[in-house]
C-alpha cells in the first residue's frame, strides 16, 4: 500500500520493548519515507512514545531491527541518533530550565575546541548561531540570555525546534508538538511541518488527538496496547475510521491491519 517508492528513510521491523513485565511495544513495524509525514496515534499508554524514544536513542530496544537509509542502526544512545540525522522534539522539550536558550540549543553538542582533556566552548560563536537560527523561527525572540524557566511556552518550543533545524534533521520526531501551545503557535508549527516536509525531511508526529494531525499527515499508524492496529493513507480513510482504530482497535477498509487489529470485529 505504500505509495512511496525507493528505500524508506526509516524502517523499523519487529521492534519489542518491555519494562519489567509490561510489554510497552510488541512486534511493531513502521516505515517512513523522505518528505513524508506519518502520524503515530493512540491513547496514552499505547506505546507510541516508547517506540519513538527507541528511534531517538533514548531507550534501547529489546528486539527487532532499525534501518536508517537502508543501513542497520544500533541506536544505543541519543548521540548515535543525532549522528544519523534523527532529531526529536520531546513532549517535555528536554530543556534545562536553569540554562539559557543558547546553552539549550547546543546542549550536548557544543561548539568547542579540544585542548588536552578539555573541550573549551566557543560561547560567542554559539550565541551568534543561536541568534540566527532562532530569529528565523521567531523574530521577536531576542532574550537569548534568559534562563529557560523565565520563557513562554512558545519560546521554549522554539528552542526545541531550533535544535532540529540547526542540526539538519533528516528524520524529525515530534512528540505532541502542539499540546502546550495556543492556536496561533499551533498554526506556526503546522506551517513549519509543511516547510520541512517540502525539504524532504521525514517526520513522525506523535499525538493522542487525531484532529491535531490528520490534515498534516500523509499516513497514520495507530497503536493500541503496544501493538500496531493498522496503517492507512490519510486519503484512504476518514477521521472516524481512524478514531475507530484508536478506540476500538478496529481496522477499517482502506487500512492495512497490523498485529494489534481486532480479529473479529463485532
Amino acid at each position: 500500500m505504500e505509495t512511496q517508492t525507493g528505500k524508506p528513510l526509516v524502517e523499523m521491523r519487529g521492534v519489542f520493548k518491555a519494562f519489567g513485565g509490561v510489554h510497552a511495544v510488541e512486534d511493531v513495524d513502521v516505515t517512513l519515507h523522505a518528505g513524508e509525514v506519518v502520524a503515530v496515534l493512540g491513547h496514552n499508554g499505547a506505546g507510541k512514545s516508547t517506540l519513538m524514544k527507541m528511534l531517538a536513542g533514548a531507550y534501547r530496544r529489546d528486539a527487532g531491527s532499525v534501518h536508517i537509509d537502508g543501513k542497520a542502526a544500533e541506536l544505543a544512545s541519543p548521540a548515535e541518533a543525532f549522528e544519523l540525522g534523527i532529531e526529536t522534539i520531546h513532549q517535555t522539550l528536554a530543556l534545562a530550565d536553569n540554562l539559557d536558550a543558547t546553552a539549550n540549543l547546543f546542549l550536548g553538542r557544543e561548539i568547542a575546541w579540544r585542548v588536552g582533556p578539555f573541550r573549551i566552548m566557543d560561547s560567542a560563536r554559539m550565541r551568534d548561531v543561536a541568534a540566527k537560527v532562532i530569529s528565523q523561527l521567531n523574530p521577536r525572540f531576542t532574550n537569548l540570555n534568559t534562563p529557560c524557566r523565565d520563557l513562554s511556552g512558545g519560546q521554549r518550543q522554539t528552542i526545541a525546534i531550533a535544535r532540529a533545524i540547526h542540526f539538519e534533521a533528516h528524520v524529525l520526531i515530534m512528540d505532541e508538538p502542539t499540546a502546550a501551545l495556543g492556536p496561533h503557535e499551533t498554526a506556526m508549527v503546522a506551517d513549519l511541518i509543511r516547510e520541512l516536509k517540502s525539504k524532504g525531511i521525514g517526520i513522525f508526529l506523535i499525538s493522542h488527538d487525531i484532529h491535531d494531525v490528520f490534515d498534516l499527515a500523509d499516513r497514520v499508524v495507530v497503536m493500541k496496547n503496544g501493538q500496531v492496529v493498522g496503517t492507512a493513507n490519510t486519503s484512504d480513510v476518514s477521521q472516524d475510521d481512524v478514531l475507530g482504530m484508536i478506540i476500538l482497535g478496529k481496522c477499517p477498509e482502506g487500512a492495512i491491519p497490523g498485529p494489534g487489529a481486532r480479529s473479529n470485529p463485532q
Partner: protein, 403 residues
C-alpha cells in the same frame, strides 16, 4: 505509558557571570560588615595583618573543599565524606613520608604528594562509581565514605600521631617560612593582573567582532575593583612580619594553592563542556540525557575532582599541623557544605559558583576567627555558625525570588 513522564525541571538559575555577580558581591559586602563589626568588638584585633594572614591560611583548606563541593552540589549530589577522605589521605601521606620512605631522600615528599593525589582521585572515583553507575544516592554513598575513610585513617597507623614532616613539605602549610616573600608576592600580583587584563581584552575583541554588545565600561570597572582588592591583599600579607625580624611574609603558600584551584575550577565551570554539563544535569537530568550528555561519566568526573581536592586540602592541613593524626579534618565536610551553600550553591542542583564558595569559606572562617578574638567558646561559635548558615540560605532564597 508510565515511563514517559519526566520529573518537573528544577527551578534554578545558572550563573552567567559566576566570578562577579550580584550574589557574590553582596556576600563580599557581608564579609566587610563581619570584619568591621568584629574589629570594633575585639578592640581593634580583627583587621590586623597577623589575624588576616591566619584567616587566609585557615580559609584555604575549607575553600579548596568548597570548590569541589560546589560542583558536586551543582550536579544535585552531596559529599559528606570530604573530612574523612582528607584525614585518610593525610595519614597515608604521613605514613609514607615519615615511616616508610627514607627521610633524607629528595624524592620523598614529592612522591608522597603524588601518591596522595592519586589516592584522592581513586576514592572520588569509588564514590562516583557507586553514585553514577550503581545508582545509590550520594547521601548514602558518602555517608558510608565518611565512616569508611575515618576508620581507614585510624587503621593506617593504628591511631598513632606521625611527625615531623619534611621541611619543604611544611611550606604548603603557610607556617613561618610558608609564604612567598615581599618581592615575589608583588611579582605574582603583576603577572596575574596582566594575564587577567589580556584575557578580558581578548574576550571583548572576539565578542565585538561577532557583533555582540560587550559592556566595556563594566569590564574596566570590574578590572579596577579586582586590581585594588588584590593590591590591598598583597600589601596586607606583606606587612605581616616574620617573628623577631622586619622581613614581610607575603602571600602564604596555601593561598597560592587555593588560587590555583580557584582559577582551574573557574575555567572548568565556565568555559568547558564539562562545566556546562554539570549545570545541565543539576537543572534537568532527563533533558541532559535526552540531549546525549554522558550524565554518568560527568557525575563520576565531578566526584573524582572532589577527591583530588580533598587530597590537596590534606597536604595543606597536614603541612600546617606538621603531624598526621587520624582525626584530622573531622567535621570539615560541614564547613565545606556550608561555605558552598552560603556562596549560593542550591542543594536542589543546577546553581552554584566557585567564587561564591570561596567567599562563603571566608565568611565562615572570619566568623570563627572573630568570635575567638572576642572570647566566645567553641560551643558558642558552633551555635552562631549554624544560625548564620540558615540565615544565609533564607536570605538567598528570599532575594532570588524563589518561594
Amino acid at each position: 505509558m508510565t515511563t514517559e513522564s519526566l520529573d518537573p525541571p528544577a527551578m534554578n538559575v545558572a550563573p552567567r557571570d559566576s566570578g562577579f555577580n550580584v550574589r557574590t558581591l553582596s556576600l563580599v559586602g557581608l564579609l566587610f560588615v563581619i570584619a568591621v563589626t568584629f574589629h570594633l568588638l575585639s578592640g581593634g584585633l580583627f583587621l590586623t595583618a597577623r589575624n588576616l594572614y591566619n584567616i587566609v591560611v585557615q580559609t584555604s583548606v575549607v575553600a579548596i573543599l568548597a570548590c569541589g563541593m560546589t560542583i558536586v552540589i551543582v550536579t544535585r549530589n552531596i559529599d559528606l565524606s570530604v573530612g574523612s577522605v582528607l584525614g585518610c589521605v593525610g595519614m597515608v601521606i604521613a605514613l609514607l613520608q615519615i615511616q616508610i620512605f627514607p627521610q633524607e631522600a629528595a624524592w620523598n615528599w614529592p612522591l608522597t604528594v603524588v601518591i596522595g593525589l592519586a589516592l584522592g582521585a581513586l576514592i572520588g572515583a569509588w564514590h562516583g562509581f557507586w553514585i553514577a553507575y550503581l545508582g545509590v544516592p550520594s547521601f548514602v554513598v558518602t555517608l558510608g565514605g565518611l565512616l569508611i575513610f575515618r576508620g581507614a585513617a585510624f587503621e593506617v597507623a593504628q591511631g598513632k600521631t606521625l611527625a615531623p614532616f619534611d621541611p619543604i613539605y611544611r611550606l604548603f602549610g603557610g607556617g613561618i617560612d610558608g609564604a612567598l616573600g615581599v618581592g615575589p608576592s608583588w611579582m605574582l600580583f603583576v603577572v596575574i593582573m596582566v594575564l587577567y587584563g589580556l584575557g578580558e581584552i581578548l574576550v571583548h575583541r572576539r565578542q565585538t567582532r561577532l557583533g555582540f554588545h560587550s559592556k566595556a565600561r563594566a569590564k574596566v570597572l570590574r578590572f579596577a575593583l579586582v586590581l585594588v582588592a588584590a593590591a590591598a591583599f598583597v600589601a596586607t600579607m606583606n606587612s605581616y612580619l616574620k617573628p623577631r625580624s622586619d622581613i614581610g611574609r607575603g602571600v602564604p603558600i596555601p593561598a597560592l594553592v587555593l588560587l590555583s584551584v580557584v582559577l582551574f575550577m573557574e575555567f572548568v565551570t565556565r568555559f568547558t563542556t564539562f562545566g556546562r554539563y554539570i549545570f545541565a544535569i543539576g537543572g534537568n537530568i532527563d533533558a541532559a540525557r535526552l540531549n546525549g550528555i554522558p550524565t554518568r561519566r560527568t557525575v563520576l568526573v565531578a566526584f573524582i575532582t572532589m577527591g583530588v581536592l580533598c587530597a590537596i586540602a590534606a597536604v595543606v592541613t597536614t603541612a600546617r599541623l606538621n603531624a598526621g593524626t587520624s582525626s584530622t579534618g573531622e567535621l570539615l565536610e560541614l564547613s565545606a557544605i556550608a561555605a558552598a551553600v552560603i556562596g549560593g550553591a542550591s542543594l536542589s542542583g543546577g546553581r552554584g559558583t566557585i567564587a561564591g564558595a570561596v567567599v562563603g569559606a571566608l565568611i565562615i572562617q572570619s566568623l570563627e576567627s572573630g568570635m575567638v578574638l572576642i572570647g566566645a567558646s567553641s560551643s558558642q561559635r558552633m551555635v552562631a555558625i549554624g544560625l548564620v548558615l540558615m540565615a544565609a540560605v533564607f536570605a538567598d532564597k528570599y532575594l532570588s525570588g524563589e518561594e
